[in-house]
Amino acid sequence: MDILNALVALTNFVLIPATAYGSQLALGALGVTLIYGILRFSNFAHGDTMAFGTMCTILVTWMFQSMGVSFGVLPTALLALPFGILGTMALVLFTDRTVYRFYRQQRVKPVVMVMVSLGVMFIMNGLVRFIIGPGNQRFADGERFIIKARAFKEMTGLNEGLAIKTSQGITVVTAILVVAVLFWFLNKTRTGKSMRAYSDNEDLALLSGINPDRVVMITWLIVAALATIAGVLYGLDKSFKPFTYFQLLLPIFAAAIVGGLGNPLGAIAGGFVIAFSEVLVTYAWKKVLIYLMPEGMGPEGLAQLLSTDYKFAVSFMILVVVLLFKPTGLFKGKAV
């Protein structure tokens, strides 16, 4: 019984939150890695693109709520999501036209593109703060839990409760759907194949008649969708605050690099590696250990390896260790 209790506690406090967080990171990292693979630069504005997409979705959600439209037990934000994605697509296409295209045609060094993306980051950050303000926004509605802790305890008779938030369930399901569609698109469709060809060898792709402008445009569209979905899922699960989204940049980049920049499969793996290590290292293991250790042998302290404030340090340490021992990431990434 104790082992079961320990397992339930572990699932409740570690496995479920880490899976949800990992899915959000994976979606974010997919966006970063696609930009890196096809446009060949590290997009520092990605966190703020996520924030922008989430903001659009929140605004539409509020509009729906004031009109009395709801999605039953599911959050209204899911209904608003397509509109958020459209808004973000418009924004990134506009920035590509006005900003990035010029440098792409000049064939500047990647680091100049990174610097340009810093400027875009500033502007998007300012835009989001300008429109919705720098404060915290909660926009989740509908049923809050799929399984409540108390109901689980009554059902099983265990001491430990297991709660699954609706947002966590939605996150995992959506992430699986999105990833499946994305991989189907990249591997099976003509456009997806041309994107991969362009990513592998730009010159050969151009020679074989692939239209670079189209590839770039479609990449931005996909990235806008991924960023918005990742941002909305994160916001539903926790809450929306522009600065938090900017800070997500670090774990997202860590995930993309750990998996191997430019490799979509790697981005997903990297997302989960980062999320699980963050949660595992900052979790107070006391609760689980008390069940597993013999009577009276339980740990005195919280048995927490690092305080939660250092979660950035965790993603960073993993990044450094992976880079030192496997410089192209776990899966083979590319280098420009």
Binding site: V99, V111, V112, G119, G133, L305, Y310, F316, L324
Partner: protein, 440 residues
């Protein structure tokens, strides 16, 4: 127009902006010498930071986005060097903390030695994990009670290890040294990697440094802030009580309060200007020396420089450490100016990316450009809020009073800063990528 004249005019323009801010009360000019000097002082510090970044990016092409961390380390140095010692802190746990940190470092060292000297295989992996686990447990066993001991001393206004009580000017070079040490550690691990990776690594390190400052209360009281740091200049109150000063102020036609605040700020300006000029002269000398030419050669073509026998990684490490040290000095100066260390206020947009905007706008690769950019962009960073408010009032002047949109627009004017800085950066990168004073 010759280059010297043009550059002098640019600097004169910034000077004019500050003089105007001190003299006339019109539009976004405040008309107060006090606020003009506040801008000048922070502008001088920003110029030093931009100089440091220019060393890294302009000379060597290193992409460091962790400036905030080095600036914060400089601030930490001020607390550790010049704040008053906490009685009994060292006996209560200070030595224990040092011992624990040394043990931690030795664990890492032992791991690297094992990794290098043991053949690859399961034995090595098990050994590494065992050493790490034992080292970590021992570290926590010594560290935790020591920290608790230090933090228990007078937690309401101390609870930290305290400083050495040395003069605050000594803390400036110390801040540089602290930042240099951190930069050496980071550079040693990240500099061999690709340019993007260095960017991410420095971004992460800066966040971690801030997290440490916020959470390790024994070090610098965390978010409880250290206030009342000593100053290199006299206090206003003392000046006001000094009959000689009051008399000389009266001879200029100033009342003692205004005169004392201005006098203190001017002294800061002089101190900062001296530091800036010393660093600028050194940076110019470095740029013109064979070492500077080698750095630019490495920047422009690493492969060719390597073929000529230059040790690219070592040179990169060298200049990375130097540039970060300058940022550390600037950070120490800033904390001295504020008289307090407030880890909660360090934000990457303000302390990392803004410095980048300054350097790019001023002209990367040119020391004078970096200084100009620091002063100019700082002036606008302060004034954009006022300009934004004016613009918003102009835009909304036709709208009905009390309309929701009007209120929202006027309230949001404060966020114009980010938007404007991003716009300036993009415009400069696009239309004048060499900046106001281009590299020669």
């Amino acid at each position: 127009m010759s280059e010297t004249v043009r550059n002098s005019l640019l600097f004169a323009f910034v000077g004019l902006l500050i003089v105007l801010d001190g003299t006339i009360d019109f539009a976004f000019f405040s008309g107060s010498w006090n606020s003009a000097l506040v801008i000048l002082n922070m502008g001088l510090i920003s110029a030093i930071m931009a100089l440091g970044v220019n060393l890294q990016w302009g000379f060597a092409g290193l992409f460091n986005v962790g400036i905030m961390g080095f600036v914060a380390l400089g601030g930490l140095a001020v607390v550790l060097i010049s704040s008053a010692p906490t009685p009994g802190a060292w006996q209560a746990g200070g030595f224990g903390i040092i011992l624990a940190l040394l043990l931690g470092a030795m664990t890492i060292l032992a791991c690297t030695v094992i990794y290098k000297n043991t053949p690859k295989g399961r034995f090595r992996a098990v050994l590494l994990i065992a050493v790490l686990a034992v080292g970590f447990v021992v570290y926590r066993k010594i560290f935790d009670p020591a920290v608790a001991g230090v933090e228990a001393i007078n937690p309401a206004n101390a609870g930290n290890i305290g400083g050495l009580g040395l003069p605050v000017l000594l803390a400036w070079p110390a801040g540089g040294l602290l930042a240099a040490g951190a930069a050496w550690l980071i550079g040693k691990t990240a500099l061999g990697l690709r340019s993007d990776y260095l960017a991410i690594a420095t971004l992460g390190i800066a966040e971690i440094i801030i997290a440490i400052l916020k959470n390790e209360d024994w070090l610098a009281r965390g978010v409880k802030n250290v206030i009342g740091l000593p100053r290199p200049v006299p206090y206003e109150v003392d000046l006001q009580n000094d009959p000689g000063f009051v008399e000389s102020a009266a001879s200029y036609g100033l009342d003692p309060v205004t005169a004392s605040t201005l006098f203190v700020k001017l002294q800061y300006s002089l101190l900062f200007a001296v530091v800036l000029i010393i660093l600028l002269v050194m940076a110019q000398a470095a740029l013109k020396s064979p070492w500077g030419r080698m750095m630019r050669a490495i920047r422009d073509n690493e492969v060719a420089a390597e073929a000529m026998g230059k040790d690219v990684t070592r040179r990169h490490l060298q200049i990375f450490v130097l540039g970060s040290a300058i940022c550390g000095i600037a950070g120490a100066m800033m904390t001295t100016l504020d008289g307090q260390l407030t880890p909660g206020t360090y934000q990457p947009l303000r302390f990392t990316f803004l410095i980048w905007v300054m350097m790019i706008v001023g002209g990367s690769g040119n020391n004078f450009g970096a200084v100009l950019g620091g002063l100019l962009i700082w002036f606008f960073w302060i004034k954009v809020e006022d300009i934004g408010l004016l613009a918003m009032q102009l835009i909304t002047s036709g709208m009905a009073d009390g309309s929701a949109l009007k209120i929202h627009l006027i309230d949001s004017a404060a966020h114009m800063r980010m938007l404007t800085m991003g716009l300036i950066l993009l415009l400069v990168l696009r239309f004048s990528p060499k900046g106001l004073i281009p590299e020669k």
